[in-house]
Amino acid sequence: MIRIISAGPLLAGTLLLAAAAFAQQPTAPTSSAPAAAPALPPGSPLIGRPENNEAAAKLAPVAPPPLATAADKIQVDQLKAPKGFNIELYASGMPNARSLALGDKGTVFVGSRLQDKVYAIVNKNGKREVKVLVSGLYRPNGLAFKNGTLYIAELSQISKIDNVEDKLDSSPKPTVIYSDLPKDEAHGWKFLAIGPDNRLYFNVGAPCNICMPPPTNAQLRNIATDGSDAQVIARGIRQVVGMDFNPASKVLYFTENQRDWLSEDEPQDKLNRLLNPGKDNFGFPYCDGGNIEDPQFGWGHSCSEFTKPVTQLGPHTAPLGMRFYTGHMFPAKYHDAIFIARHGSWNKSNKIGGDIYVVYLNKDGTVKSQETLITGFIQNNNYIGRPADVMNMPDGSMLISDDFNGAVYRVTYGIKTAAER
């Protein structure tokens, strides 16, 4: 309860009542209030939160620790995978490690959402070493690599470093190639992929939990690698933090995170595919999860107007990075299946997600089945790690980034980890 210092008892009493009234009805204007402010700012993760609900009031986005967890404190042994798989710590000390990209010469690049850095994991004389490649960036979440060049997607610009693997020790300065982007903080961070058409693909998220987005937002775009020829290739998309191209059909698949505060168990996050570039609309903000007309924006609309997801990935599970598994180290059934880093829920009393999830496709690109593969990131309804991205390695193993511990893990099959050897 609020108490006013140095105010007379009568005034304090009056204000206590006023404060109590606000506690019950925070959006009610009063005669003394200045010009009405909106109930909540457009980007607030709290928009839609039910009033006077204790369970809901406890929920807020989980803040990632600002410092990387020391290697010996990372609980890799708590992670569980089917028999035959092994998980080991690949590298640590990269606070808020997010998207992964692989260089031609074996450098693993690691982006970050809340820090200002892109890291490089390099092999030096047989020893793995983490170095800061670039500092001073603004939310450099998205990374892609092609023909010697590293592309970096910050909040509102995309830049590149040519011949980056020859410059790992010289603090290279990225060259901006594209900056015609909104500067919204909410869902402003980007995932970056490079397509079979040699164009850069990225998201421009909805600047809100749920709102009518401006025409510049809630979409996927692509550009040429010199930043020219921007095209909007899909609309009605709330936020995407992972995408990859089907190696067989070259069709773009992407994870999409759905709105908060609808309920504990709805809507479900989605896996989409883009069959009609430039035409498909995936439904935001009218249709949630592919099957629920939004209680606020869905009136007069039907989910049948929009492109359906190929599958649902669970409520609030936050599927982020995803890659088709192209290697041969894992058993044959995993080949060409989609591996998804589900970051895990915040908008749900009992946390779910926080795992590596696999979606198996039919030949026609539809979904055959899906299951969890690696669990254990949630212990007693708390995170001990949060997977953010997955990436194929040339030997068929897979890397997983963890933005909670600032670490990268390596998943192998049939090979004992260093600890077991």
């Binding site: 309860m1 609020i2 108490r3 006013i4 210092i5 140095s6 105010a7 005034l11 204000l15 006023a18 404060a19 606000f22 506690a23 925070p26 959006t27 009610a28 204007p29 009063t30 003394s32 209030a33 200045p34 010009a35 009405a36 402010a37 909106p38 109930a39 909540l40 700012p41 457009p42 980007g43 607030s44 993760p45 709290l46 939160r49 009031a57 807020a60 986005p61 803040a63 620790p65 600002p66 410092l67 990387a68 606070p95 809340l114 820090q115 200002d116 850095k117 500092s135 001073g136 603004y138 919204d184 903080e185 909410a186 402003g188």
Partner: protein, 189 residues
């Protein structure tokens, strides 16, 4: 006036021993500026007492990495290890909470500030007691001038938050409203 503040800032930080090893050795230098027991007497310098350790760690990190720019603090955190940041944050959080200013209170401004808190839902993340949680700072009884400075910084994006929440929140808040918010929050308990 500006020169006076600058002199304070320089005075404070020249006292900081560059190679101090322990938190116990370092804290007095912090308190030279941030005040006895963390209750700041210096304009634009925040009180530190009972601050959320997670938030303090984030801010120290941002100062060290120049993600938040303030020369004195960028200098003060140079070369600190991650453990130093954690330990300093814990030490600061154990200082007593700051006290609100004495003196008469402008009832109309309190009422306007309280209404704005409700409208902007400050009490959601900062909690109804304004004592904060995790990376959301305690703001209760913070110095009014510092609150104004922080809010203006978030609004014009000269101060980057660890995440974008405050920039988004302030987008629709006017400068006049910032003054009333700060007035009110500096005087709650």
């Amino acid at each position: 006036m500006r020169k006076f503040f600058l002199a304070i800032a320089i005075g404070c930080f020249t006292l900081l021993p560059a190679f101090a090893q322990t938190v116990k050795q370092r804290i007095p230098a912090c308190l030279d500026c941030h005040g006895e027991n963390g209750q700041s007497q210096n304009p634009d310098v925040p009180s530190l007492g009972a601050q959320q350790p997670f938030y303090v760690t984030v801010q120290l990190l941002m100062f060290r990495e120049h993600m938040r720019v303030a020369d004195s603090m960028n200098d003060a955190t140079r070369g600190l290890s991650d453990d130093d940041l954690r330990n300093l944050a814990d030490a600061v959080s154990n200082l007593p909470p700051p006290r609100p200013p004495d003196g008469p209170v402008d009832e109309a401004r309190i009422e306007r500030g309280s209404a704005l808190v409700g409208q902007n839902h400050c009490n959601f993340c900062h909690t109804p007691s304004f004592t904060g949680q995790q990376n959301v700072p305690r703001i209760a009884d913070q110095r009014e001038d510092y609150l104004i400075k922080a809010l203006r910084g978030y609004k014009d994006n000269s101060r980057h938050g660890y995440d974008g929440t405050m920039a988004e929140t302030l987008a629709s808040v006017t400068d006049e409203q910032i003054l009333d918010l700060a007035y009110y929050i500096a005087r709650v308990k």
